[in-house]
Symmetry: C2
Subunit: 192 residues, 2 copies
């Protein structure tokens, strides 16, 4: 992030020396580098979320006839969906990194930026959907719902609940980053 | 939508007659008109969703000690959130319509388009989150979850479940429209 600031300040100096056109191109390069850094962060976030969720299970040291003695993430369809969505997003972001590097080199590229806006927006909707659906179930697991007679399961499965709640962080981080990526692409397109 | 096609074809004709610059502006006007139509559709979708969810409750003609005799949307925090998110989105879309009309008249406007991309993207994340979280709870209400001992409530509350499921449609429609709006703004920005 610090590096980013420098690049943009550099762009500002160039603008004074070399006129408006070149200054604009330099600030586009700053945006492109920031785009790359944000993509790497989103890659780590979605990968971490998918991995943390996919390895979650807890076996209790006791069992009764009412409470099951093991909880796994794939007992919940929503959590399975969460892993799939994060894996897809992770794969997409990995594939988009070469294109992001290409944008640092070729600053005037227009069509490939629109392609990235389209795909980033679709991924944003996908990841937000997966993360929010999982969050709704995690909330239910913590608090339960008395009207529907759904009881909290977090008192029995404490580790399971903690792990599942934690795995949401990376995914919601990726949501914020994807919003920023769409904005950066929009700004880059308008300055081209 | 038909009207839209005509406008864009009209733009194509103009391009042949009056050169590339004016043709581009005409196609931007086509995009701006489509933007306005999509916004009105999204307004109807989110308003319908919020209204359908907020008026959902069902009283059963019988009650036992195990099953409660009334189900209301606000027994579920997620459904309350769904109504709030859709109301916010509905308000935002209503406020953005004047700006959309301004874009039809002033086709070269740049900064206001970036503002709309930023706000549209944030609203997309918000509405997708609300709709997905509600969908996760609706799915649970339909199927239940045996590991957590959460039983399906849709056999008791059939009307409630149908109404709640139906109210998701408008919201997911608005999600699709918001994705399209971000794309249209991106294309308009690149052609400006």
């Amino acid at each position: 992030m610090m590096k980013e600031g420098k690049v943009e300040i550099g762009g500002g100096h160039e603008e004074a020396h070399m006129g408006k056109g070149k200054g604009k191109l330099a600030s586009i390069r700053g945006i492109a580098i920031m785009d790359l850094i944000l993509r790497i962060a989103a890659l780590v976030g979605t990968l971490g979320s998918a991995a943390a969720m996919a390895t979650t299970d807890q076996t209790l040291p006791f069992f009764t006839q009412i409470v099951r003695f093991e909880a796994q993430y794939d007992d919940f369809t929503t959590f399975k969906l969460f892993v799939i969505v994060n894996a897809i997003a992770c794969g997409y972001i990995a594939l988009s990194i070469p294109l992001s590097i290409f944008h640092i080199i070729r600053r005037r590229a227009g069509k490939s930026r629109i392609l990235l806006i389209i795909l980033d927006t679709i991924m944003l909707a996908l990841v937000t959907g997966g993360a929010s659906a999982a969050a709704a179930i995690v909330y239910l697991a913590h608090t339960g719902n008395s009207s529907a007679n759904w009881f909290s399961i977090c008192q029995q499965y404490q580790n399971f609940c903690q792990r599942v709640s934690g795995s949401l962080i990376g995914s919601f981080g990726a949501v914020v980053i994807l919003v920023l990526l769409v904005l950066l692409s929009g700004i880059a397109l308008s300055r081209r």
